[in-house]
Amino acid sequence: MRKMIIVALSMGSIITMIISAYYIINMYSDHSILYLDPDETDYNKYRIVLISDQLGSASWNELVHGAKFIAENNNTDLNIWGTYRTNQSEIIKQIEIAIASKVDGILVQGINHPDFIEVVNQASIKGIPVITIASDAPSSLRRSYVGVDHYQEGVKIAEYIQKTIESPVNVCFLAGEDFINLQEMRQRGVMDTLNTNEEIKIANPNVFNDTLKSAFQESISLLNENPNCKHIVALNANGASQIVKTIKTRSRIENYKIYAFDDNSEIKELLKDGVIQATIEHHPKEIGVKSMVMMLKWLEGREIPLEKYYYTPSKVITETDL
């Protein structure tokens, strides 16, 4: 009896001891615990903010990737700010925040709008260089523009249209409400090229004269107003995917020839399916790299003033290129 009690108690002690030890060891070996000690990282030389309204899109990610690569190799901190959908006032607000934060440089997608121009000018007055990327606001005090020459894009698409048509055609433009400046430049590029051709007639050359609505509404009114126009140039990415959807709801998509300027995954898919005839291939990574390099050149004073424009290469791609 006595022995049994002692054995039972000893067993209990040993088992509980082992379990306790397990917990204690567990506790001390928990390396996932971070301590909230102040980080002693050295400040990097420059703090640069990159503001975009297309966070999360594939081409933008590539751009950011390129910019980050340069930043990391040059002891520069790069902050990515922005919105997920185009929102002009939000972008202006973020530029204001960047100014208040006294960053060393701002990379921003340009919007040709007085408010945007004003805030960019304000930054320049406070000594913060602004470089517009991907799209421009040429009348602002931005230091430089890095991105595709949108006029040339238009020219290239127009040349492709000229090359591929067999009989006289009507060409019409579809524009969306965003980045009108960019779309205008593309349209100008197309028009300037096509005007020399007798066989091609532009159906709606004054697309920007009216106030622009959303791509969906624009596409409906375009189809309603120009029933004979079978060649449609979608001036922005939104427009390209929207026109395809709208056509599909009312007639056979094969009857239409659609041209685009962007190379996001949706458009590439449509290109592959033969719905879209041609688009322009961009190199967003190069935009990111180049813009950062130019910003650093400016900050280090190696190149003053900067070139007003730095164009990255672009080329027409068709179904066969994929």
Partner: protein, 482 residues
């Protein structure tokens, strides 16, 4: 030797240490967790404070512009200073994830302060338009600061997500650990208490059993308890006591036996008294008659007869006195002499005797009728059967410790068996013919009882040479008789 106390104190100490250890361990960990929580809270509070201060600064400036009081200005200056101090403190929140945001944050605070300063200066220089625009700017920045605070807090939550999770995990771990450690402590305590209590109570139990055994009167089982505390000591003492009791009981039994013997011999004494009473036919009449006969014989000039009768009378008187009382040797010896005188008349020349008494022994007290039976015995066995008679020597010697009484005859002696029988008191039926009716065995027993020792008599007898009886009586009696 206070080892039970020591054991209990040791156990208590052990419990105390164990509990203290567990308590310290748990408190240490709790403290650590609390510190971590505090740290987190501190961060959040600091950021919240920045946001509040920035808002208040604008509000105060507004109030100043509306009221223009020195008090407001001072309060504005105060708040500005506070905001600047706190923006320096923000450095302590820095980590690799948020440091850029923090720099932005600090710069925004600076921008705000600059704007408010500009607004103030413009206002004081009466450039109200400019002041308003600067104030608007400052308000905007203050909004941005509030927003940035949220962003940083959000970032904070993301960065330390793992950390917070691990804190929660750790606190649940701590809880479980506490439970198990408590369980372990309980088991350990039970085990140790059991062992300790056992080491104390087991010897007690054994002792109890031993005591029960003894109380049932079984003294033979040895008490064997190996314990170094008081119980061990008790057991040892008890063991000694057991041995003592066993010995004492043995002695008591012997004593009882002796007492029984005594009673038996008291009965014998009574019997002899009865016998003497039976022969006591009105002693006064007998003495008077004997005295009358003695006087008559004296008047008839038969002097010897007269003396003889007087001797008989004295002897009778002596013999009839109360038995059981002590007498001095002198009194006893007078009786013996009367007896010898009578016997001298009877045996005439056939008997020779001499008495040699150390005068120091006269007052030594002995039971009455102790020497005479031996003398009578000598007559009966040594003188009467022999035609040519014999000799009797009586010697009483004083020794430092003892009084020696020797009665020696030159008779035919006795065999060793008979000597042994006498010493054992078995020859008690041989007292026929004794004048007192008291045999030697009666005397020996009475002597033994009176003096409380066994060795009161030595009998050395050589056949055909004689018998020597030596009574060795101690001067200081142990007196087991009353």
């Amino acid at each position: 030797m206070n080892s039970i106390q020591r054991k209990i104190i040791l156990l208590s100490l052990f419990i105390w240490m164990l509990m203290l250890g567990i308590w310290l361990f748990m408190s240490y960990h709790n403290q650590k967790t609390i510190e971590q929580y505090n740290q987190i809270l501190q961060r959040y509070l600091l950021m919240n404070q920045v946001s509040n201060l920035s808002e208040n600064l604008i509000a105060t400036l507004h109030e100043y512009i509306l009221e223009i009081s020195d008090e407001q200005l001072a309060s504005y200056e105060n708040q500005k200073l506070e905001l600047q101090t706190i923006s320096v403190q923000l450095n302590s929140l820095r980590n690799s994830d948020n440091y850029m945001n923090l720099i932005n944050y600090e710069n925004m605070i600076k921008s705000q302060v600059e704007s408010t300063e500009l607004a103030l200066v413009s206002f004081q220089n009466d450039r109200y338009e400019q002041a308003a625009s600067h104030l608007d700017q400052a308000t905007k920045i203050s909004d941005y600061i509030a927003e940035m605070t949220l962003t940083i807090l959000d970032r904070e939550l993301k960065t330390y997500h793992q950390f917070y999770r691990s804190i929660i995990q750790q606190s649940t771990n701590l809880e479980k650990m506490g439970f198990w450690i408590l369980l372990m402590a309980s088991f350990l305590l039970l085990l140790f208490s059991y062992l300790f209590a056992g080491s104390i109570t087991r010897p007690i139990l054994k002792l109890t059993l031993a005591v029960k055994e003894i109380s049932r009167g079984k003294f033979d089982r040895q008490i064997n308890i190996k314990s170094n505390d008081e119980i061990g000591f008790l057991a040892n003492v008890f063991e000694r006591m057991r041995i003592d009791i066993k010995k004492l009981i043995g002695e008591m039994k012997e004593k009882v036996k002796i007492e029984r013997d005594l009673n038996k011999h008291k009965l014998l004494l009574k019997e002899s008294e009865l016998k003497s009473l039976q022969s006591q036919i009105n002693p006064h009449f007998l003495f008077n008659t004997l005295n009358t006969i003695s006087k008559k014989a004296y008047l008839e000039e038969a002097y010897e007869t007269s003396d003889l009768i007087t001797s008989v009378s004295n002897l009778l008187r002596y013999n009839l006195r109360q038995m059981g009382k002590t007498v001095t040797i002198l009194e006893e010896m007078k009786g013996v002499q009367e007896y010898l005188a009578i016997q001298k008349v009877r045996f005439f020349d056939r008997v020779q005797y001499d008495i040699d008494i150390d005068g120091k022994c006269f007052s030594f007290e002995i039971p009455s009728l102790t020497i005479q039976p031996f003398v009578e015995n000598a007559f009966i066995h040594a003188i009467e059967p022999s035609e040519e008679g014999g000799e009797i020597h009586i010697k009483i010697k004083d020794q430092p410790e003892h009084v020696l009484i020797c009665i020696e005859d030159k008779g035919k002696g006795m065999s060793q068996e008979k000597v042994n029988a006498i010493l054992k008191g078995e020859a008690s039926n041989h007292y026929e013919g004794h004048s007192t009716g008291i045999g030697t065995s009666n005397v020996i027993t009475r002597l033994r009882l009176h003096f409380g020792i066994h060795d009161v008599i030595q009998i050395s007898s050589v056949p055909e040479k004689g018998t020597k009886i030596t009574l060795q009586l101690p001067k200081r009696s142990k007196n087991i008789n009353e």
